[in-house]
């Protein structure tokens, strides 16, 4: 069975699973119970669809299996009440919609808003969305978030209990609330993407990036009028387009400015540019649109031969005004060095040099090391690169930095 067939089948199974789960959970607020009702059917689907093809009506297939398993369980008197209630609900609904199963309402957006509700711990929002919408297991999710599987499982259980106990609403927020609440959903999806982005070479992590992009597309399709959702999807696609160029043939790290543009995925860049254009029609507003615009200015190199550094700096200024994020200031400094030189960039970093959050932030020390090296401040460069090496998890990045530090002594 080829990889594409397997992935197509998995996608279809996830699509159906997420829709049925969201539908059930939105009615009862009992996410765990809905999962119980669908768990076995979903597992069967993941096993048999890749081999036998996706059924004509995936929702009906899942439901039929769920009901049959439920009946078996009743016979063995092992059924869980919650699951039974869900199957009951589902049956009634499906019978109503027997003529046209497409009428099962898509409540996945409401479910995502529940998962990213302010009452849910920020760090658990992404794992919760990955599990409920895509059916990923705690084991699938745990490693990327640097949390042991058992702990991840417990935290997911607690988060679901909280949704039920606090009566977290399954609804798309009202206009006035929507922007802030949507940001939380987008942040969770982007966090999942970032986990998949940093873990290079790890196939599971690469797939997490795919899942995040899929979720991004889902949000855009369900909220077509929200420019920030498009901005975030564009941002992920710009990054994804460069995935193949981030390592050379020997697996060594290649920084953005030295990447071979032939290895960039033109189709994904075009898709990102189109999304960004649509998002910007009302003028850039949110963080994701600006970050996507920065990526657009970077990849301008493939047309003009040089990144548009003036635009990059100007966009970071807008982003800084919006977020006051030290990370934005750090990235701005790297771009500023290209226009005004390394010394000016280093001076701009003074504002965050004392920030506690930077003390163990690897990109800060890596950027500082590079800037000091360019400014001829060898000792400072050596110290900063050493810290960056100590803070690196990725082997390729660590080797790259060690090379930079060695070059310092030779040069």
């Amino acid at each position: 069975m080829d990889d594409l067939a397997r992935r197509t089948a998995e996608r279809a199974a996830r699509d159906s699973y997420g829709r049925l789960l969201a539908f059930l959970a939105a009615r009862t607020r009992d996410v765990a119970g809905a999962e119980d009702a669908l768990a076995e059917a979903f597992a069967s689907a993941l096993k048999s669809w890749p081999e036998q093809g996706v059924p004509a009506n995936p929702d009906a297939w899942l439901l039929t299996v769920a009901r049959r398993r439920q009946t078996d369980a009743v016979r063995r008197r092992q059924t869980r009440m919650a699951g039974e209630v869900h199957i009951q609900l589902m049956t009634e609904e499906l019978e109503e919609a027997a003529a046209n199963p497409q009428t099962i309402p898509d409540r996945r957006l409401a479910l995502m808003f529940a998962c990213a509700h302010p009452e849910i711990e920020a760090g658990m929002r992404a794992p919760l969305i990955l599990q409920t919408i895509l059916g990923l297991t705690a084991i699938d999710i745990a490693a990327a978030f640097l949390i042991p599987p058992a702990t991840m499982g417990q935290r997911l259980v607690r988060a679901k209990a909280r949704i039920r106990e606090l009566g977290v609403p399954f609804a798309i927020p009202e206009r006035e609330e929507l922007a802030a609440r949507l940001d939380a959903v987008l942040d969770a999806i982007y966090a999942a993407y970032a986990k998949g982005w940093t873990e290079i070479g790890d196939t599971a992590a690469e797939r997490l990036a795919d899942e995040a992009i899929w979720l991004g597309r889902l949000v855009v399709s369900l909220l077509p009028d929200e420019p920030e959702a498009k901005g975030m999807l564009a941002l992920m696609l710009y990054a994804e387009a460069r995935r193949g160029a981030r390592r050379d043939g020997a697996g060594a790290y290649v920084p953005l400015e030295r990447q071979d543009i032939e290895l960039w995925d033109e189709q994904q860049i075009m898709a990102a540019e189109a999304l960004l254009r649509q998002a910007n029609q009302a003028g850039p507003t949110g963080r994701y649109q600006i970050e996507a615009a920065i990526q657009s200015a970077h990849v301008a190199r493939r047309v003009t031969g040089r990144p548009n550094w003036d635009a990059v700096v100007a966009l970071y200024d807008v982003l800084l005004g919006l977020t006051q994020s030290p990370v934005a200031l750090l990235n701005r400094a790297a771009a500023l060095a290209e226009i005004e030189g390394a010394e000016a960039a280093l001076t701009s970093l003074d504002a965050i040099a004392g920030d506690r959050r930077m003390a163990d932030y690897q990109p800060y020390w890596a950027a500082r090391g590079h800037l000091c090296a360019r400014a001829g401040r060898k000792e400072e460069a050596y110290e900063a690169l050493t810290l960056a090496i100590g803070l690196s998890i990725d082997e390729a990045v660590r080797h790259y930095l060690i090379g930079q530090r060695t070059a310092l002594q030779d040069g």
Binding site: L146, I147, A359, W365, L387, G390, I393, E395, I402
Partner: protein, 116 residues
């Protein structure tokens, strides 16, 4: 909160890979150490002499028993530790994942019992 990072690895391989002068820390560990210090996380840390130099002591029924070697013979040996200060377990795990020995051996994270 205080956390202990216990470093386990294949002692034979580690000894073979160490530069002749074993008092010198490997570049990876030097960098890791610097990062811990700079972040204000390092409380203490030491590399241990190999298990060949270990003695296990226990007192049973008032009688002291001494055994040459480590407490348990395992494929991976306890080779060193860091005592760190971290705001939470997740941060401590993050530090453990950056420990150079995490790539070849195992780093166990243990919260220090809080007496309060």
């Amino acid at each position: 909160m205080k956390f202990m990072l216990l470093i386990y690895g294949d002692e034979a391989a580690a000894t073979a890979a160490t530069p002749a002068d074993t008092r010198v820390m490997s570049p990876d560990y030097t960098a890791y150490n610097e990062a811990l210090i700079k972040a204000g996380a390092l409380l203490a840390g030491n590399r241990l002499r190999p298990t060949a130099d270990a003695t296990s002591v226990r007192v049973r029924n008032g009688k002291t028993e001494l055994l040459d070697g480590p407490y348990a013979e395992t494929k991976e040996q306890f080779g060193g530790y860091y005592l760190i200060e971290a705001p939470d377990l997740d941060t401590a795990r993050d530090w453990a994942s950056k420990c150079p020995s995490a790539k070849t051996g195992t780093v166990e994270v243990r919260p220090v019992w809080q007496l309060d």
